[in-house]
């Protein structure tokens, strides 16, 4: 029995659709909200040096490794990360480590759907002119913050589920339903179709907003310094992180390198378990090298060329240097509504902006559903309908937990830290080790080369084997030393953070149990490896398969 349990294996419809689906997975809120804030706070233009170094030495190599492992796992007939890890690692331990490839997207999905629904809520509110911050411009910043706090229920726990109908809960239900309807339609008719239409539409919305921002000029003649050029300068001028040091001193600051690596890492969606799942639907003669590079370059386009030119310059033109940009929420949901209030036709541009964020979010959230769907199908030998139902129940439970514990968004923040950051680092490290040291870079290169439209640089083998793991571990250790103590203290204090981590642990145990059930079905370790280069034999099998279907 193969990994599909007798079910017909899904595949992508077109090359372009597949590339756009992976790009859609990578392009998310972080491209437009996180990147500008991180860059502006970490040296402005100088930040781009460590940023592109991280792209070449960390992001792209891990991305290619994931694509290659996914395609190789697909040759065994597997689509879920635990099964693919088991097949590559040839040991049961790897199968269990592969749980991270399901836990990470499922965990992130639980709060990401909520954030996605805020984007939808804000978009609809702008469309119908429901966001009014009052007549006094001096109070707009405060009222914008209050509006956000009310909308997400950050005042106190349980406020969103107190029996009355809260708009944000309505939008969450809507977002949840749309996501599960689309994922139920399958890989080609659901994910691929949404990304094929969604990404160009997202680009159109972003271009319209960009054109508006770049044509703002100097909106307030009384404050001539607040103009678009200075806004771009606030984002791109090389500058020290703090003090009066020369700008190039930034390059000696390890925290800047860590911020750049983290940004690239999260932006490209490596370590999420999504790419490995998506690539498993490729056939062995399909390209992974050019496809991986193209999907990454699309992500960079949205991040650098659009995200880098819109958010910070727009905020600077109207608010000067005094606006909060420490977090994505501050910049996106508190600062930008004030900017749209200042802007002529602000409601229209507000709608376009938040609708674009919603599109960015939905193409990402759909990608987080598919790994778990594939896993449930493979582990339990069930169909798509049943696996969507199980995943839906689990996601509802997790999301309601986060919606209930909404005070200061503490449950969401805890999930984001432990699952959306720490576990991603751990999982990416496991992936690099599995690819470079277990599968082997030579064998990996052969798998990637089959059907490749582009030759991988030879230095890639050295980078992925030595540079990427060391780079990754250095960033992870530095990140832990800075961030971990605070979150561990929160855990020790008990309350919502401890409950949230308990929920993550419960989910992990549940998934491990499913892996043990699925393991007896997969027999990955005992099955013969696909012979590399033996294309003809496989083609005949596929032809027979089609004939059987006819």
């Amino acid at each position: 029995m193969d990994g599909t349990g007798g079910r017909r294996k899904e595949h992508w419809g077109t090359h372009v659709g597949m590339i756009l689906a992976v790009a859609g997975s990578a392009v998310g809120l972080g491209n437009f909200l996180r990147f500008p804030g991180v860059a502006a706070q970490n040296g402005g233009g100088t930040f781009m040096i460590p940023y592109f170094c991280a792209f070449i030495l960390l992001g792209l190599p891990i991305c290619w490794a994931e694509w290659t492992m996914g395609k190789y796992g697909g040759m065994f007939g597997f689509n879920s990360c635990p099964a693919i890890f088991g097949a590559i690692g040839r040991r049961r331990t790897w199968r269990y480590i592969g749980v991270l490839g399901i836990l990470v997207p499922m965990g992130i999905l639980m709060y990401y759907l909520l954030i996605e629904s805020w984007c939808l809520g804000y978009a609809v509110s702008y469309l119908f002119g429901m966001i009014d911050l009052g007549p006094d411009p001096a109070a707009w910043a405060q009222r914008s913050g209050e509006h956000f706090t009310r909308f997400v229920g950050a005042d106190r726990d349980g406020i969103m589920l107190d029996g009355s109908i809260h708009p944000s809960v309505v939008f969450w239900v809507l977002t949840f339903t749309v996501n599960f309807f689309l994922i139920f339609r399958g890989l080609e008719k659901g994910i691929e179709k949404v990304c094929t239409w969604g990404i160009p539409l997202m680009a159109i919305c972003a271009f319209i907003v960009l054109a508006r921002v770049l044509s703002l000029g100097t909106p307030d003649p009384a404050q001539p310094d607040r103009n678009v050029l200075n806004g771009l300068g606030f984002m791109w001028n090389p500058k020290p992180v703090a003090g009066e040091e020369p700008w190039y001193v930034v390059l000696a600051n390890p925290q800047v390198w860590m911020s750049a690596a983290s940004q690239i890492f999260f932006s490209l969606s490596v370590g999420f378990g999504v790419i490995i799942n998506y690539a498993s639907y490729l056939r062995r003669r399909d390209d992974v090298v050019l496809s991986g590079l193209t999907a990454s370059s699309i992500n960079e386009f949205f991040e650098v060329c659009l995200g880098g030119l819109i958010t910070i310059p727009a905020a600077f033109v109207f608010l000067g240097v005094a606006f909060p940009m420490d977090s994505s929420f501050d910049l996106g949901f508190k600062t930008l509504p004030v900017v749209f209030m200042h802007m002529k036709f602000g409601s229209l541009f507000g709608f376009l902006w938040f609708f674009m964020l919603f599109l960015a979010a939905i193409t990402s959230s759909l990608s987080m559903l598919q790994p778990a769907i594939a896993f449930l199908e493979e582990a339990l030998g069930i169909g798509r309908r049943a696996s969507v139902a199980i995943l839906g129940l689990a996601s509802v439970g997790g999301s309601l937990f986060i919606i209930y514990f909404s005070k200061n968004l503490s449950a969401l923040d805890t999930m984001d830290f432990w699952v959306g950051t720490a576990l991603i680092f751990v999982f990416a490290t496991c992936q690099v080790v599995l690819y470079a040291w277990v599968l082997g870079v030579e064998k990996g290169a052969v798998i990637a080369a089959e059907g490749a439209e582009l030759r991988q640089p030879r230095v890639f083998k050295f980078i992925v084997k030595y540079v990427s793991p060391v780079y990754l571990l250095a960033v992870f250790v530095m990140w832990c030393s800075i961030k971990l103590p605070g979150y561990v203290k929160d855990l020790a204090d008990g309350g919502v953070p401890l409950l949230t981590v308990g929920m993550i642990a419960g989910l992990a145990i549940f998934l491990l149990l499913l892996i043990s059930v699925g393991g007896s079905r997969w027999h990955a370790e005992t099955r013969p490896e696909p012979r590399l280069g033996d294309v003809e034999r496989l083609s005949r099998e596929e032809v027979k398969d089609w004939e059987g279907a006819i």
């Binding site: 399958g186 193209t294 060329c305 069930i382 279907a549």
Partner: protein, 50 residues
Amino acid sequence: MTLGGWIFMLGSIGFVLSLCAFCFWRVFRRPGTAERLQSPHTIATRDKDT
């Protein structure tokens, strides 16, 4: 906006646009890029029936 700012902005955007242009050129010069990867029969998964 300083000269350094212009250099970093145009350099970064230029690098990303060049990369995108190169990738799209390579993707689309391949005949049949937007055509189906396989027979429709392989896409009708039928797992909805189970």
